[in-house]
């Protein structure tokens, strides 16, 4: 790739060459480039660097290193969440440096080896950081080469890491060999620290931001971005070489199994004893209501935990409303003022008052669960000096570090978080809380040994934080032509952001509390609807006044939009039906946004959509034979435009709803990796249909009852429909969020298709047989 670059003679970037020798970053020894030989070595290293385990983010070497063999190492506090982030980061960096992506390797998420922190789900901000670092480096390398080769910068070009001009050339590796590139990276912001009582209880979750405006490669001249570069970690995952967080083994490590209270509000009365004849190495460890059995042998820990749990006594408690009463409970709650509002109430009230037709509807969603296949697991080693090292798969290493430090009553500098791959979290660890880490830290502190805590599935489904249920009310006014002229939406839910670690709560150790509150998440796609009013209301967790804090809310993937768009798009579909309009044409009539228009038209074409009103002329709510329908929805989020078109078959007599085909379209600006986006769109549809058709966390008055895969059903391979994908890539709109959001475009489209097939509005999910049968009976 040949790129002409602009250089400025008064560049603020002072580039000098110094002898590398033993380069230090912020006092810490330069990290090893070789992969650690084993976790023993990691422990020794982390102990040695505990006092100086924070990289200086203003030094280039904290972010990026070019080795003499022309390979490049990048450090980012963000992690691979399973959506291909490690590939996208690599592509973006390769593009800015004009190198082959295969030459780049990443260190992700280790707090002592990466500079910036930040949300792993926040690809757009994380990518901007490393993109700018790469761009600054590229400019510096050009200036160095100009000096070294005696060729003006404007005569230089770079292909695959080799700088050439006027018949001379030098590789990046040759240019920096034995040298230290002393380039200052401008940054702003702060790393995470505990902030009790504020938002999620931790400040600085955005991490650091690289500032300034280095020249970036134009998106219409990309060579690496826009290709389907393979995600780097996949071969090791496929061959068994990946070291997952569940694989961490330390010398002297104990395996632990937790014994949880019998209800969400029980407190400990007495712990049963271990039968030492049968289980000689098992020991009970407890603090407050935190009870565990530890043993050097994992099976012995499990066997002992089962026996001890059976004989351990807890107080009674029955303070939950029961999931069947969720909506009633939310309806009965005396909501305070909205925590977020948009729009002018007077204008909307006046517009609705003069509307030719008024529609109002309420929508409901149950508690749902992130539900990874691999339950939480963590290893912690709390040292005698009070510092700690934690091995984890949290998607917020710096946030977790802040929470663990708060728990231990120390500062974040005394905690090292090491990140490894594990089961996807889908937003569960986005705020650095929840998980087995606090259990492991507390048990390690109590035993003086490294402890590995592996949760069971039942424990994960009953005790991890959970994505709260919602109730939404929407009123709309239509004019005489059937156009929506005003819309008022109100969203209500229990606490959405309380990922406090359960181990610390049960042990009665310090936990940084968060603040309940809702927020308006939907990005408004219909600019022709000028009068709108949006309110979001929040309340405490259900069962909040207990030692466990009850159902700790922790909103999952595509947060907010997923819930609010279900109501908003549900209402738009109802309005289209009231207007007697085709639902796609109805949407086109309410927007001037050309990106939305284009993706709607392209997706409709791919789906073979024929314009007509809903419901279908053959819609039917009774009978043993299937009736079919189709429905649409859109979503705008993070500079990305989404369209979902569902086709369903409903058997009214049994309540069975099958999605037979789903067409999904996305315009997320410049597509970095078309194949990976295709994979993420299809897999997101699977998750979204799972939510639309199957998922509901159930609980009685004492505890969560949907605690395994036969009680918390998710979509199986056989239930997956044919999925068609439509992508629009644009070089002039920057980057949008593409990897996560597909799940959110399923439920409204499925509900619309259900209405098309049956003529009955489905304003609640999941569309499971019992609910559907009741609904169709009327």
């Amino acid at each position: 790739m040949t790129v002409k670059t602009e250089t400025s003679s008064d560049s603020p970037l002072a580039t000098t060459l110094t002898r590398r020798g033993f380069v230090k970053i912020g006092g810490a020894l330069f990290v090893s480039f070789a992969l650690p030989a084993g976790f023993r070595a990691q422990t020794a290293e982390s102990r040695a660097s505990l006092q100086t385990n924070q990289l200086n983010p203003t030094l280039l070497a904290s972010w990026l290193e070019i080795r003499s063999d022309n390979t490049i190492l990048i450090r980012t506090g963000r992690t691979e969440t399973g959506t291909g982030m490690s590939g996208y980061y690599t592509q973006v960096i390769a593009e800015e440096l004009s190198v082959r992506p295969e030459t780049i390797s990443l260190i992700m998420g280790d707090t002592d080896k990466t500079p910036d922190g930040g949300y792993s789900a926040g690809f757009l901000s994380g990518m901007t950081n490393v993109r700018k670092v790469a761009a600054y480096t590229y400019q510096a390398l050009l200036r160095l080469a100009a000096t070294q080769l005696g060729v003006p910068v404007e005569n230089l070009s770079v292909v695959d890491g080799v700088i050439s001009g006027v018949g001379k050339s030098i590789s990046y590796g040759q240019l920096v060999e034995g040298q230290h590139l002393d380039l200052k990276i401008p940054v702003t912001g702060e790393l995470a620290k505990a902030a009790p009582g504020k938002w999620v209880g931790v400040d600085g979750l955005d991490g650091l931001t690289v500032t300034g405006e280095p020249p970036l490669k134009p998106l219409n001249q990309c060579k690496v971005m826009g290709t389907s570069f393979p995600v780097p970690g996949i071969p090791d995952k496929v061959t068994g070489k990946t070291q997952w967080s569940c694989d961490v083994t330390l010398p002297g490590m104990l395996h632990a199994r937790m014994i949880r209270p019998v209800t969400l509000g029980s407190t400990l009365i007495s712990v049963a004893a271990v039968d030492k004849k049968q289980l000689p190495t098992a020991e009970i460890v407890k603090k407050g209501n935190l009870v565990a059995v530890v043993s050097p042998n994992e099976w012995e820990a499990i066997s002992a935990a089962r026996a001890v749990a059976a004989g351990t006594k807890w107080t009674d408690w029955a303070g939950l409303p029961g999931s069947d009463n969720l909506t009633k409970t939310l309806r009965a709650y005396q909501w305070n003022a909205p925590s977020e509002s948009h729009g002018k109430a007077a204008d909307v009230t006046a517009a609705v008052a003069k509307a030719a037709k008024k529609i109002s509807a309420s929508y409901e969603q149950p508690y749902v669960r992130h539900a990874p296949i691999g339950p939480f697991v963590a290893v912690a080693d709390v040292h005698s000096d009070g510092s700690a090292t934690v091995w984890t798969h949290s998607a917020q290493s710096q946030g977790l570090r802040a929470r663990i430090a708060y728990l231990l009553g120390t500062t974040p500098e005394h905690v090292v978080i090491r990140w490894l791959d594990h089961s996807g979290q889908y937003g569960r660890t986005t705020f650095g809380g929840d998980g087995a880490e606090s259990d492991a830290v507390i048990l390690s502190q109590l035993t003086g040994k490294p402890v590995r805590v592996q949760w069971t599935l039942q424990e994960d489904m009953a005790w991890s934080s959970v994505s709260p249920g919602w109730v939404s009310d929407i009123q709309a006014g239509l004019d005489a032509n059937g156009r929506v002229i005003a819309l008022h939406s109100s969203f209500y839910s229990p606490h959405m952001m309380d990922p406090r670690p359960i181990g610390a709560l049960l042990a009665g150790m310090p936990c940084s509390t968060s603040k309940p509150g809702g927020w308006v998440a939907t990005e408004w796609p219909y600019d022709k609807i000028q009068n709108r009013l949006e309110h979001a209301y929040g309340m405490a967790n259900l069962g909040a006044d207990t030692t466990s804090s009850g159902l700790r809310g922790n909103i999952m993937r595509t947060p907010g939009q997923r819930q609010q768009n279900f109501a908003l798009e549900g209402l738009i579909n109802e309005a289209a039906a009231a207007a007697g309009a085709d639902p796609i044409q109805f949407r086109l009539d309410h927007t001037t946004d050309q990106r939305l228009v284009d993706i709607l038209n392209a997706t409709a074409k791919a789906a073979g959509w024929e314009p007509r009103r809903s419901p279908h002329s053959k819609a039917r709510r009774t009978g043993p034979s299937p009736v079919t329908g189709r429905g649409v929805c859109i979503m705008v989020r993070q500079n990305a435009y989404w369209v979902g078109i569902a086709e369903v078959a409903v058997v009214p007599a049994t309540g069975a709803v099958q999605v037979t085909k789903f067409t999904i379209g996305a315009d997320c600006g410049k597509i970095i990796n078309p194949r990976q986006l295709d994979r993420c769109m299809k897999s997101g549809v699977v998750m979204g249909l799972s939510e639309a058709l199957r998922e509901e966390v159930t609980f009685d008055k004492e505890k969560v009852t949907s605690t395994n895969w036969s009680r918390y059903k998710i979509l199986t391979m056989e239930e997956m429909p044919e999925i068609k994908v439509v992508q629009i890539s644009r070089d002039d709109k920057g980057f949008g969020g593409g990897s996560e959001a597909a799940n959110a475009v399923c439920p409204p489209a499925v509900a619309a298709a259900f209405f098309d097939a049956t003529g009955v509005q489905a304003r609640r999910i999941p569309l499971a047989p019992a609910y559907v049968t009741t609904l169709l009976k009327g």
Partner: protein
Amino acid sequence: MASELTLFVNGAKQVVSAAPETPLIFVLRNELKLSGPRMGCGMAQCGSCSVLLNGEEIRTCITPVSYAVGKQVTTIEGLPAAWAVEKKLSAADAAKTLHPVQQAWIDEQVPQCGYCQSGMMIAAVELLAKNPNPTIAQIKDAFTNKPPSPHLCRCGTYAAIIDAVQRAAKAMKA
């Protein structure tokens, strides 16, 4: 109480000391350091812990190690060697050849988080041994309806898995 048990894992004889009722997964992971089988539900509901036992998929989270004594255990770490033996590859070729199912999983970029994918590949190897040319419906059926439970993927990679099984089927016939 622990006993000395003899297993054949990925073609090698292994003598381990474990209580006979210990689920096989803990012996494979903790004693033999094989991280392919991973703990999921612990109750044979998800498939993330699957291995082949004499060529048949089993769930190691509920299978006592004593049940595997004297039988051939194959984890994903052993799939390349199993393929090399089946195809009578030279040592040089074997060293650079993955099992076609693994190669297809890479070529189709199947894993997202990847946690369940060991079990998915094990299920694919078993399916292709019995049905070298499965239709999409047959793949869906095998991954959903074969006892004891469906193979679950929370990331939702089912479409990619179907693509990869079909790619592997072609490669294995070549």
